[in-house]
Symmetry: C2
DNA sequence: GTCTATAGAATGATAGAC
DNA sequence: GTCTATCATTCTATAGAC
């Protein structure tokens, strides 16, 4: 089942929980966020949250699925268009757009140790990630390309940095597109 | 008191605790790391850890002080040399070097919500950060420069990314120096 | 500096009523 | 779908002996 399909199966109440959980994860880290905190933020009891998700891990996984789903859409369009430079640029734009629109959360999704572990252990997200970077940077990467890939990934994650907190969305997107395009198209 | 001086006041036992704590923070996040875990990793009891630091917050602060101290050294040399391009390049090199040598921990130090909060609330680290980026990127930054600063910071933080886990230290340093110099010297 | 022992609160998770 | 009540476990932190 695709990430899009998995993400589409959550109820309204579950989606509210997922959204709330992500905000708390961003503020306190996954490990620093308790089910009590999530329940309080939702205005319900812990038991109500356990009715939606049978464990904290399930919430963490759901958060990942919901926020990776839009990337899957963008990726499939790019793959369908072939590996053309135009398709790559369009994919990069959409990834940046998605990141900027969820600024506070991106750094958490990319860096929180718990989410990183789940992201690495969970097959659908593994595949998404390798397909994404295959389109953006090519299939088999040498050391030089790997560093570029890591920097590219981190550059996108910089949308949540304090330095750009006051930069408006459009400016941030434009500047980031510029910088990251240079990273991708940089001559060997 | 400078960060260097503060960091220099910790005992051997405290430094062992700080080192161990940082490793656990990197694996589980600050919020996901208990004093019990730290004590177990050190092979002592919780009470022994509390003898060294009266609270978990004190350990977090100590971790920051110890790992920012080398940056303070590098920064002061660069400031003494004036804002010459040569001094900037040398500073950037030392920052990258320090980051590569502590790969697993850098992402935690830069991204963990608890550490980010402490880093923002703690005056000595605030000053260090603004001085550092003043030397690297100039004093008053417009939006464009702010995005570059955030990307530069994130690029340095990418040393811990899974993509470069197998890249050896020297290659990583060289490639990162290349990419980040382009970021700094990029024409407006 | 390290230990045992403990206090008191918070944790993840479950059972059963409405 | 939400509640109250509860479980065993773990948490931060402290007191006092060696």
């Amino acid at each position: 089942m695709s990430l899009r399909e998995r993400a589409g199966q959550y109820s309204e109440a579950q989606l509210r929980t997922i959204e709330t959980a992500l905000e708390l994860f961003a503020d306190h880290g996954v490990g620093g966020t308790s089910l009590q905190m999530i329940a309080d933020a939702l205005g319900v009891t812990k038991a109500a949250v356990y009715h939606q998700f049978n464990a904290k891990e399930a919430i963490v996984l759901a958060v990942l699925e919901v926020y990776l789903a839009p990337l899957e859409d963008a990726l499939e369009e790019a793959e369908a268009a072939g590996g053309t430079p135009k398709a790559r640029a369009a994919l990069l734009s959409r990834v940046i757009e998605a990141a900027v629109e969820r600024r506070q959360a991106v750094s958490t999704l990319q860096n929180d140790p718990v989410l990183v572990r789940v992201l690495g252990d969970y097959e659908p997200s593994r595949q998404l990630w390798s397909r994404l970077f295959a389109v953006l940077l090519g299939d088999d990467l040498d050391d030089r390309a790997r560093v570029r890939a890591a920097v590219l990934s981190a550059a996108i994650g910089s949308v949540g940095h304090a330095f750009v907190a006051d930069v408006d969305d459009e400016t941030l997107k434009t500047q980031l597109r510029d910088l990251t395009r240079r990273l991708i198209l940089l001559p060997g």
